[in-house]
Amino acid sequence: MVIQVLLLCGLIIFSGLAILFKDLLKAALSLAVASLFLGIVFFRLNAPYAGVFEISVVAGLITVLFILTIALTKKDGEVEDSKLVKVAFPLFFIIFLIIDGLVMKSLLLKVPTLPSGPETGSFGEVLWKQRTFDLVAQIGVILAGVLAVLVLFRKKEDDKDE
């Protein structure tokens, strides 16, 4: 229970940091750490599928794409500090908690579910033997992201004919 609470606190802190950091690189890394915490929470709750998706897609793939894009972006555009974000985020979070507490719990209890055994298997087994197609699709997502960065940040001299 204590570990679970610590993990959730870590998740919230790093999610908040991802929004509040002015430095894009730090924000992207905070988001990756937050996703890692969430992935571990999923694993601890016997949901390795969700854990695999979270860690491989959000913590892994999306972070790589963010860092690639940030690395290719020039430093000429200063990001203005928005006070709205500082106010809006905590406000949104509080409203979300209230709605969650009042509505979601009772609603979710009414949703019928099939009895199912806990998912089994290590990270590798789940990803490789059960969700192989998702791995192929993730390769496609990475490829699309990398190609998008290459094409959209291309230099004019690349366009010269052979």
Partner: protein
């Protein structure tokens, strides 16, 4: 092999940036077109096995080790694969000459192939989460392709498209999450069986609503259409053709109807909601198209309107309605692909897409004008072109199902369609030619060739529609009409 529809485009896309370092034009042109021609041939060769077996389930081993690369092919997704391969091959042929002034061909083709792999993957996977992932593969490459020109309008349109597409993906993912929570599974078959056992009508209704919002945004159905009239005209012409001809149909229509028919099982209420959305799209977008001056913007609104016909036919749920809807999906993919490519030819020739500035081009560019006329008349539903038969089948199906109101609206919307397409003809190709267009020349060879091929398909499908209907449309319609029985019999 069925997996080649995903593996070949992805592999070539990975190689193209490297190949582009030493050959900027020839090898990327050859490789991309050869790959797409192979996929088209592959889809044609798969017809016979599908006609014999109704469905093919293929699993791949990785050097003897069992992995889960399972694809399910039936009449419906084979029909989609054929449509994707055919139209994207013509688009790729058109790009050979069209991309000369853009440059960076290897990058363009690589993204185009990733988009095609994404669409093929989406069509082949029998799993809800994999559908979502392949949806994202196609979507990410399409955002980059819309912005390919790097102009202000392109970047703005791409950003708008990205923002609304993310909302669509969120709705789809939310629905998948609820279904996974209820059934503990993601495969079509297990989910279909699980939802039958649970008999949770209201929760399924909520999930269906989320799917309609998500896939409706992807398909640009009214009222979820705001992104399309900006994104499609801003993209380079081949990408506009891909988006309007294929992507909105695969990531919107295919995904929505595969899930609602084969996983949820369509209910009368769901059918009525979808029919209403289709009809509203058909009429509202046709009225909006009438006021446009930019050819591509007019075509974009026309796409929304024609998708409305497809949705109306499919949502009717009768075998004839489904067949009509699918036939119109194919006809619209071909004709709208043709018209968007043709608008690229017009822009290439004159440097403008504004109908007010054009006029009398038909005398100087007969191939562009002739192919445009064929595409326009086909979509408007003029006999004996392909679009006439599909619209006729949809209207007959509506009358048979005693949906006379919908049938009447479909006929009236068809008249509106003819009206705005004749406006294009009159303003761009007929009348007195302006002095500044007196020295224009016909579009380059590959651009004209792609237009001619697509125009010929519109004519030949219209004249010989029976064999095409029996070979492609009927098995697809039967697969969809079977409802959840279709995925339950896959035995995955």
């Amino acid at each position: 092999m069925i997996l080649s529809f995903i593996v070949i485009p992805l592999s070539i896309a990975a190689l193209l940036p490297l190949i582009g370092k030493f050959s900027k034009k020839l090898i990327p042109d050859l490789l991309t077109n050869a790959a797409l021609a192979f996929l088209l041939l592959n889809s044609i060769l798969l017809v016979k096995p599908i006609l014999n077996q109704e469905a093919i389930i293929q699993n791949v081993n990785w050097f003897g080790e069992k992995i889960n690369l399972q694809v399910a092919l039936d009449g419906f997704n084979l029909f989609m694969l054929f449509t994707i391969s055919l139209v994207s091959l013509c688009i790729s042929l058109f790009s050979i000459d069209y991309l000369e002034h853009y440059g960076h061909k290897a990058g363009f083709y690589a993204l185009l192939l990733v988009m095609i792999a994404g669409m093929n993957g989406l069509v082949l996977v029998p799993d809800l989460f994999s559908i979502y992932l392949f949806l994202e593969v196609a979507a990410i490459s399409s955002y980059a392709l819309v912005a390919f020109g790097l102009g202000y309008d392109e970047l703005e349109a791409s950003f708008k498209y990205l923002m609304l597409s993310v909302v669509a993906s969120a709705f789809v993912l939310l629905s998948i999450t609820i279904i996974f929570g209820m059934t503990g599974s993601l495969s079509f078959q297990a989910v279909a069986q699980g939802l039958q056992d649970l008999n949770a009508r209201y929760v399924i209704g909520v999930c269906a609503a989320f799917f309609i919002m998500g896939f409706g945004l992807k398909a640009a159905l009214v009222p979820f259409h705001a992104w399309l009239p900006d994104a499609h005209p801003s993209a380079p012409a081949p990408i506009s053709a891909m988006l309007s001809g294929l992507l909105i149909k695969v990531s919107g229509i295919y995904a929505l109807f595969r899930i609602t028919f084969s996983v949820f099982g369509v209910t009368p209420l769901l059918s009525q909601v979808l029919m209403a959305l289709g009809t509203v799209s058909m009429v509202v977008a046709a009225l909006l198209a009438l006021g446009q001056k930019d050819i591509k913007r007019m075509l974009a609104y026309s796409s929304i309107s024609q998708v409305g016909y497809v949705v109306l036919g499919l949502a009717l749920g009768t075998p004839l309605g489904i067949a009509g809807g699918l036939f119109h999906l194919f006809n619209h993919a071909v004709a709208k692909g043709l018209l968007f490519l043709n608008s690229g030819s017009i822009q290439h020739i004159t440097g403008t897409r504004n109908l007010e500035e054009l006029g009398g081009l038909g005398k100087r560019v007969p191939i562009t004008a002739g192919t445009n006329l064929v595409g326009a008349l086909s979509i408007a539903g003029v006999p004996p072109l392909a679009g006439f038969w599909s619209k006729l089948i949809i209207i007959i199906a509506l009358i048979q199902a005693k949906q006379l109101g919908y049938a009447l609206v479909a006929i009236l919307a068809s008249i509106l369609t003819l009206w705005y397409y004749l406006l294009i003809q009159r303003k761009a190709f007929f009348g007195k030619i302006s002095e500044k267009w007196s020295k224009i020349k016909e579009a380059p060879f590959w651009m004209s060739a792609a237009n001619i091929i697509l125009a010929l398909i519109c004519i030949l499908v219209g004249v010989f529609f029976t064999p095409l209907f029996k070979t492609w449309i009927s098995p697809a319609a039967q697969a969809l009409a079977r409802g959840i029985q279709q995925v339950l019999m896959w035995g995955i």
